[in-house]
């Protein structure tokens, strides 16, 4: 029965088994609760993204006054009152962990609601669809125009030109907003307008314009279905209590037209509320039929709920034939039991505890973070030097960090071997007994520090030594310990 077929032949068939042609999706406009939530969240997300670079934050003279700024040349990250140094990237690790757990929590409560409401791919695609609808008309009109694709009337060409211009404008502004996070926004806008900006800025704008245009204008639901790993991971993380967009087949089957359903009902037969109007399919941005059950392509945006509710209201039946629900409740209803919803359960409690825990650790780290830091590295070659009078000297590399936005005078003291003296190479002429240096604002300085102990206490091989640095003006102190070694 299996006759071999030349695979080459198959490649040229449009629907040949080697690849599937994309079935273009024409989502219909819809109004309702979830559509309103989506508009609101879209406005919020885009508003934050586009406007945040222009928010100012006063950090004192000479420091950048942009509230959120990734300052790559000086390796600093500014976020409102926080200024992070490169060695503090663990805060970002913390943020990523928090984001991951928050995603798990969202998933355990409401399935892929991240995908449906907050994911940038969804937000921008939704915006692009809105533009498309505004220019070309709603579902039926767009489908008609596409079928008549060959006839490029001047009006149609103008429509397409307008649509792609608006898309490109949005895409360009998206890329433009991105680069503003990496430099002073007002200055960069001026530079960009006068073609004075660095080449890198233009390159990044071009890259993000292209990706936004392609991903939101053309790839759309294919990103969610083929490219994004989250649907696969999500499927493994979810449980039976998560509220997914669900077609409640317990009150939907069997489906038939409204007229026929009314006839059958009059005869006393069992008919569902679903009248097979396909509105849920027409509005779906990924082009699926939710009545087939939970599926990988569903991004849980809830637009089918709005569409179905509109129809149910019209035909005078109870709304939420499609709604955020789970299979457990369908079975409970079928068994005549009231549905139960368990938002609070071990899984969600665990996630909330993890979020609180990680958040608390980060907050503690942030609050106890020092603005004056000292690190010490003991010279290993040689570890100790014998001087001509028999005393012992150890050399250390002391690194000072001033995370404040002004210059400070820092004094260096030691608690170490008895009668030990300290000397900092390069500053001996100022204060030999208590060396002090000027530490530039927002800077690190490396010093060579020599500690000499007289011969009298050379009995012990190694004694602890503490380096204490004091901001003479503010009284701020930082210290670290090391060892003083005798050869």
């Amino acid at each position: 029965m299996n006759k071999p077929v030349n695979p080459i032949e198959l490649q040229f068939e449009d629907d040949g088994p080697l690849y599937a042609a994309r079935k273009k999706v024409y989502p219909q406009s819809v109004s309702g609760t979830f559509r309103r939530i989506k508009w609101g969240l879209m406005a919020f997300c885009l508003g934050v993204y586009y406007l945040l670079p222009f928010v100012r934050w006063n950090r004192g003279l000479g420091a950048p006054d942009q509230a959120v700024l990734v300052d790559l040349p000086n390796s600093r990250f500014y976020f409102f009152f926080i200024e992070l140094w490169p060695q503090e990237v663990y805060y970002f690790t913390g943020l990523l962990i928090l984001a991951a757990i928050a995603l798990f929590l969202m998933n355990s409560v409401g399935g892929r609601i991240w995908c449906g409401y907050l994911c940038p791919q969804t937000v921008w695609t939704d915006l692009f669809y809105a533009v498309e609808r505004f220019v070309e008309g709603d579902r039926r009109e767009r489908m008609r125009k596409d079928v008549a694709g060959g006839s490029f009337t001047p009006r149609r060409v103008a429509e397409l030109a307008l649509k792609h211009s608006i898309w490109l404008l949005i895409a360009w502004w998206t890329g433009g907003a991105w680069v503003l996070y990496f430099n002073d926004a007002p200055t960069l806008v001026k530079q960009l307008a006068t073609f004075q900006a660095p080449m890198l800025a233009y390159i990044w704008i071009a890259i993000l314009t292209a990706t936004t245009y392609v991903l939101a204008g053309f790839m759309r639901e294919q990103v969610c279905v083929y490219m994004c790993p989250w649907p696969r991971i999500q499927a493994a993380l979810t449980d039976e209590w998560a509220l997914n967009v669900t077609y409640k087949y317990d009150r939907g089957e069997k489906r038939t037209s409204l007229k026929k359903a009314n006839e059958l009902r009059a005869l006393g037969e069992q008919v569902g509320d679903c009248i097979d109007c396909y509105q849920c399919v027409a509005v779906c941005p990924t082009g699926i039929d939710i009545r087939d059950g939970a599926q990988l392509d569903c991004i849980q945006c809830g637009l089918c709920i709005d569409a179905c509710d509109t129809v149910m209201t019209k035909i005078g039946r109870e709304t939420r034939l499609i709604g955020y629900d789970n299979d457990i409740n369908i079975h409970r209803r079928q068994a005549g039991k009231p549905p139960i919803y368990r938002i609070v359960r071990p899984r969600t409690i665990t996630y909330v505890c993890m979020i609180v825990g990680v958040g608390a650790i980060m907050l503690y780290a942030l609050l106890t973070r020092t603005l004056l830091d000292v690190n010490v590295l003991h010279d290993r070659n040689p570890v100790a030097v014998k001087l001509s009078d028999g005393s012992i000297r150890n050399a250390y590399t002391v690194r000072l960090l001033n995370k404040r936005g002004f210059d400070r005078v820092i004094a260096i003291d030691i608690d170490g071997p008895h009668n030990a003296t300290i000397h900092v190479v390069g500053v001996d002429s100022v204060t030999p007994d208590r060396p002090a240096i000027i530490l530039g604002r927002d800077q690190t300085t490396e010093l060579r520090v020599l500690v000499t102990a007289p011969a009298e206490n050379n009995s012990e091989k190694s004694v602890p030594i503490r380096f204490r640095v004091t901001d003479i003006g503010l009284g701020e102190v930082a210290s670290t310990t090391d060892n003083f070694v005798t050869p």
Partner: protein, 290 residues
């Protein structure tokens, strides 16, 4: 691929006709754009083979039409680096020696440059951390044969000691035994006297006054009346705790019998002046500098 019209009854989709344990495989083809992207990557790879070096041959490799070479790129970057360094080293060369340590930026540059050059040129004798060895002075301590000020260190690095250069430090510890100036027992006696100068214990039965006499007759010309040495002559201080060759009696007897004449090469002409300057500042900043 198989020729079939097999449709899965549950999903309504076509199957590939493959079966494992009664489970059929649905025919779920790749999206068209995916396949096109895949072909584009193949074309891209072929373009890469042509443009860049790619194929190993028996004795060499294909060079590609761009003749790209990462080695050539590194050479260009190194040349740029030298240029950047060049400007800074000029600033270092122009600064007065005493000012360099007072300027944190110049000090950091001199120490970084000095450390590298020290590792390349000086470490074979003085050790990578300048801790020295027997016969090779420890540059971290505060005992200096030829002086430990910045200028003296610079002088020593430039011209060396017994290096043959016209301006070199020149001196010699006489071979008192070999030349027949002192007899074996006199040498042992004066060695014990030298040990007593720095507070080290002496052998039983040693005659202190005889030792002092031999020392006064033979050694004070260079090492001074009190044995404190003389940096003009490179004569070590015999009263401190630091001994270049060792302080035990046998070593001292060997030193007095055969003399010592360690050599430090002259670096002028081999290293450029600003590099020698950086080296002097580095050695001075090790901690022993005066």
């Amino acid at each position: 691929m198989t020729e079939h019209n097999d449709i899965d009854h549950v999903s309504g989709k076509a199957t590939t006709g493959h079966q494992w344990d009664g489970i059929k495989e649905l025919n779920t083809p790749l999206p068209r754009w995916w396949v096109i992207t895949f072909y584009i990557t193949i074309v891209w790879a072929i373009g890469y083979w042509i443009v860049y070096p790619a194929w190993p041959m028996l004795r060499s490799h294909t060079t590609g039409i761009l003749h790209y070479s990462s080695r050539a790129e590194v050479a260009v970057e190194l040349a740029n680096l030298e240029k950047i360094r060049g400007d800074k080293m000029v600033a270092l060369g122009a600064a007065p020696l005493a000012e360099i340590e007072k300027d944190p930026a110049l000090l950091a540059l001199a120490r970084a440059r000095g450390k590298t050059v020290f590792g390349d040129n000086c470490a074979p004798c003085h050790g990578s951390g300048a801790a020295g060895a027997k016969g090779y002075p420890n540059l971290n301590d505060d005992d200096w044969l030829w002086g430990g000020t910045l200028d003296q260190i610079l002088q020593t690095i430039q011209y060396g000691a017994r290096s043959g250069h016209a301006k070199t430090h020149e001196s010699a510890m006489l071979a008192f035994g070999k030349e027949g100036v002192l007899k074996r027992d006199q040498i042992v006696t004066v060695a014990n006297y030298v040990r007593s100068l720095s507070g080290l214990p002496t052998s039983p039965g040693y005659d202190a006054s005889a030792g002092a006499k031999i020392f006064a007759d033979n050694c004070t010309a260079c090492h001074g009346d009190a044995g404190k040495g003389n940096q003009e002559l490179g004569a070590p201080n015999l009263t401190d705790k630091i001994w270049l060759y060792g302080s035990d009696e046998a070593t001292l007897v060997e030193t007095i019998t055969n003399g010592r004449a360690g050599v430090m090469p002259a670096w002028v002409g081999r290293l450029d002046p600003s590099t020698i300057k950086a080296l002097a500042v580095y050695v001075h900043s090790l901690g022993g500098g005066k």
